[in-house]
Symmetry: C2
Subunit: 583 residues, 2 copies
């Protein structure tokens, strides 16, 4: 694809998946890594790799000599040497040494992002124990002490619980080069991958939710099950964060964020100047993977489309466990039986506890199916205690149901998911009529929202709701209305989504007024009208609409129809047994 | 994943993608291929490959000595040697030598499949020129002479046009080891990948359509745009063909078939005992790729799910052209700008004309979007003449539209696609009312079918139609009915799909009879009812339903709504200019 040779500092799993993408495009990658058989080197034959540390000046020079572009799979590299190579024009360095230098010092990164008006948790320099204590006064307890350099996967972080605890933390982190950060009470951790060419072309991947265990990324859900407004905010923060990086810095960046427990504030946690664990799912789930897009960016080729090509995806990290490779193999072997699961093993020798040995990507036709599939893997993860084997291990904010039955568990799952159906009604007086719609959706596992939107009393709200519905991820709107019953038709005029109208029976005219108002729409704008007061059927229609492109819900609808038939058959039997007189 | 070492005979692109799948699962593959830097060897470092021909006895023995399982990427191998290895128990051979031997001789393959009652075109042995002439008498002209051994990509085939032509063909093919085959007048060429474990577990990929150019596979569409019944028939033929192979033969098999021009007869063309060009799309488009499933099968691991994870996919082969590598790069570079396109280059040195140098997979949210994307690549293919650059180059059965406008071209495309919407009505007298639905769907590029189904006059047909609709690929059913108007509701009772009901106005009651019959469905079975006689709205609702999970049609619906607004704005302007008196 390109005759340029790319050199990469670091040959772990990120380098390995980068080489995999490069191989497909016939681009040669030369790896600098101390391990002779490092994961990345295993996939690249017929090129001379370098078996030396990626901090060694002479070896970085040696790498640059045979390469057109240098990139990194880790930020803890020798930036002085990279800067020298840039100055000498020996090779292009992407991302630039100044970007990597700023990012590798987490305190400088905070300062830089703050200067560029990115939203951040409070932070303060702590060169001395006194400064650390002052930070405690300023931020309150708990707060977090962090190493400025070399920190990753939670290493180099210390949560200070009280003033008495400050000294312990300060000393544990080495007594220097650290900073303090306000403890963020977060609802979810989010992440977005952003890829940028040196000319400025940028592409942004979907917002994902990351779930950490012992400070290591354990699970990623894509797309994040969050409100559309929060999603938009997180996209903007991530895009802004990458846009403010020093000029000409090309490559892919992982932006980790907190969604504050207030439910709407998005704060930047940190940026990684390289492919990121939260973007592994893109290999199977997006039109272009993060690794291919990183390659395109460093070669200055057009960026690939970053959209999801499947409705839902997850990534489960496979870490080394107590039983070495056996611990690693267990979840991988289990996933061979799970549709949509793909195993990635990194070719690492030692499977010591906590080491990232591989990951499993899972794709599904909907968020519900995804959870079911992920649950089947989680129980097989290494080092999970009996309690941790629980299907709730990886839930960010979901408490177990009272009786723990599967049906209840799924109902809880569904409440956590981004809504697919919006149920709206003109007034709370319509709720008794509309409630069965909610019950049916809950029963069939369809995530939904329910609120009041009145065409006549809240016209602005109606416009906003209808116009934004498809952007927020809704697939169907159910609108109930009585009398003049304008809501369904007006909403249909404002959204490209299918709108299901429920004529609500008023005090006069038996609901025929609502029925005719809803069904007799002019040519051009349809409302799917159901029977008067029949919100059950509105919900069932919504499920059929979703089911038409989603096997999981199609199966649920077939099951529902079978259950209806069985219900009638029981009545037939009883009528036969009891007789019509006593029935 | 598995400590077994797999040896593969042949190290071309099939071997390369096999090694790619094996790398992800940490399985070591040793390649036997005469080319030192063959495509497959490039991806496997730290294993000693063998740079010798895969027909050489001693080198196959050498390969087997270091491997647990041997497999092939090509059927033209030394089967005697493989049989010896099986007898010695030196390594498992998957697929078995007897299977490969039977398949590599295309005549024996025909005999074997015929013995197992597979549907085949007529064939006859032709050891002599006289036998070849007898075949001409029996099959008529044209018929096809084929080499029994070593044939691939159309090489070794000769179409005999007349009796005078028999001798030429017979001699061209070497005067021996050939057979005759009846010429099949086919509507489409279909293919199905089937994977099998030695214990019998089998998984079948979707039916795809393959389009050849100069006897080489040029383009693959998945799923094939064919009727659901034909699809089922093709799946059965392919599954039966693989099921009849000698016991214990594990691995993946590509079954090439003809769909006869009668529109329903499916005939086996030939079987490949290995990953197949028609299955490359599975890497990006299916839950498990053909290469990973082949690996799983030869290692006797559980087979992966073979379903499509995207709605539509295509594969475009990139062959060497007149300008060597430049010809190869052109379509690849063009595809960098096409969403959903992924380039695979095979790392081959010489790009001589016609050589398979790589392929491009394209995925899309619907068949229409897929065609649009494929069209953008086809024009960049090597060796395409000006005329061939036409977007019709790769169409199997589509004639250019009269004026060649894009809109017309798309309408033709749409007619070629499997229907997403079924329009049905109780009687042809409803057609004038229902016709606008068809027009709207055509206008918005939604493939559909239209037929008569009467609840009262053809109840059996109604049952069949409704029960099979979702299995045939329909997403929505539009049913028009007047008077008692039972059709929509009865169809809804028989299908899990959304049913849109159009009340048709009869001679009395102004259509209110139909409206109430259609809308007032009992709890449990919804019909999406639109206004009386408003088939336009039924179609628009169907589009919204499809659009709710498909960005391409969502965009089309948004455009439609903008056009409506613009249409009214023109009227407003005219009313302002002309005045209400003269309007």
């Amino acid at each position: 694809m390109d005759k340029k040779v790319v050199g990469i500092l670091g040959g772990g799993q990120l380098g390995r998946m980068f080489v995999e993408a490069a191989n497909r495009m016939n681009v040669t990658v030369r790896v600098l890594d101390p391990a002779k058989q490092s994961p990345a080197k295993q996939l690249g034959n017929f090129i001379e790799h370098i078996d030396e540390p990626f901090t060694s000046s002479s070896d970085i020079q040696r790498l640059a000599t045979g390469c057109d572009v240098l990139t990194v799979e880790i930020e803890h590299v020798n930036c002085d040497e990279l800067a020298k190579i840039e100055q000498q024009g020996l090779a292009l360095v992407r991302p630039s040494s100044s970007t990597v230098r700023m990012i590798q010092d987490k305190y400088l990164q905070k300062v830089y992002l703050a200067e560029h008006a990115l939203p951040l948790p409070g932070y303060a320099k702590c060169d001395t124990l006194d400064e650390a204590k002052l930070a405690g006064d300023a931020f309150g307890y708990p707060f977090v002490l962090k190493s400025r350099l070399g920190a990753y996967d939670g290493r180099g972080n210390y949560v200070v619980k009280s003033e008495a605890d400050v000294e312990t933390g300060f000393k544990l982190l080495g007594g220097k080069m650290q900073y303090a950060e306000k403890y963020v009470n977060f609802a979810k951790e989010l992440a977005v991958m952003v890829v940028r060419r040196s000319g400025g072309q940028t592409a942004t991947y979907p917002v994902v939710e990351t779930i950490q265990r012992d400070n290591v990324c354990a699970l990623v859900y894509a797309p994040a099950q969050i409100d559309g407004q929060v999603c938009k905010a997180a996209m903007k923060v991530a895009t802004d964060a990458v846009a403010c990086l020093p000029d000409g810095s090309a490559g892919i960046f992982g932006v980790e964020m907190f969604l504050h427990s207030d439910g709407h504030t998005v704060l930047v946690n940190e940026i990684a100047p390289r492919p990121h664990n939260s973007g592994h799912y893109t290999i199977e789930a997006c039109n272009t993977s993060q690794f291919e897009n990183h390659l395109r960016a460093v070669l200055d080729l057009p960026l690939g489309d970053t959209s999801l090509k499947v409705p839902a995806a997850a990534m489960v990290n496979v870490l080394g466990g107590a039983n070495g490779h056996a611990s690693v193999l267990e979840p991988c072997l289990a996933s061979l039986d799970i549709p949509g699961a793909t195993v990635h093993l990194y070719g690492k020798d030692g499977a010591k506890a906590g080491r990232k040995m591989g990951h499993i990507t899972v794709v599904a036709d909907c968020a519900l199916q995804l959870r079911r599939r992920v649950d089947l893997i989680v129980g097989h993860l290494p080092n999970a205690s009996a309690e941790e084997h629980s299907r709730f291990l990886y839930r960010s904010s979901c408490a177990p149901s009272t009786d723990g039955s599967v049906a209840d568990v799924e109902k809880e799952d569904v409440r956590e998911m981004a809504p697919l159906v919006g149920i709206i009604m003109g007034s709370d007086s319509d709720l008794p009529t509309m409630r069965p719609a909610a019950q049916i959706l809950e029963q069939l596992g369809v995530p939904f929202e329910l609120t009041i939107v009145s065409a006549h009393r809240t016209p602005d709200r109606m416009f906003d709701y209808a116009r934004s519905a498809h952007k927020r991820g809704l697939k169907v709107i159910i609108a109930g209305a009585g009398g003049a019953a304008h809501l369904p038709g007006m909403v249909a005029a404002l959204t490209p989504l299918p709108v299901v109208g429920v004529p609500v029976k008023g005090r006069c005219l038996d609901g025929v007024d609502s029925l005719h108002s809803i069904v007799q729409m002019p040519r051009g704008v349809p409302v799917a009208t159901v029977a008067i007061n029949n919100a059950d059927n509105a919900a069932l229609l919504a499920v059929r609409i979703i089911a038409s492109s989603c096997p999981t819900y199609l199966h649920a609808m077939e099951q529902y129809m079978e259950d209806m038939r069985d219900g009638v058959e029981k009545k037939i039997e009883r009528l036969g047994t009891v007789g019509w007189k006593d029935y």
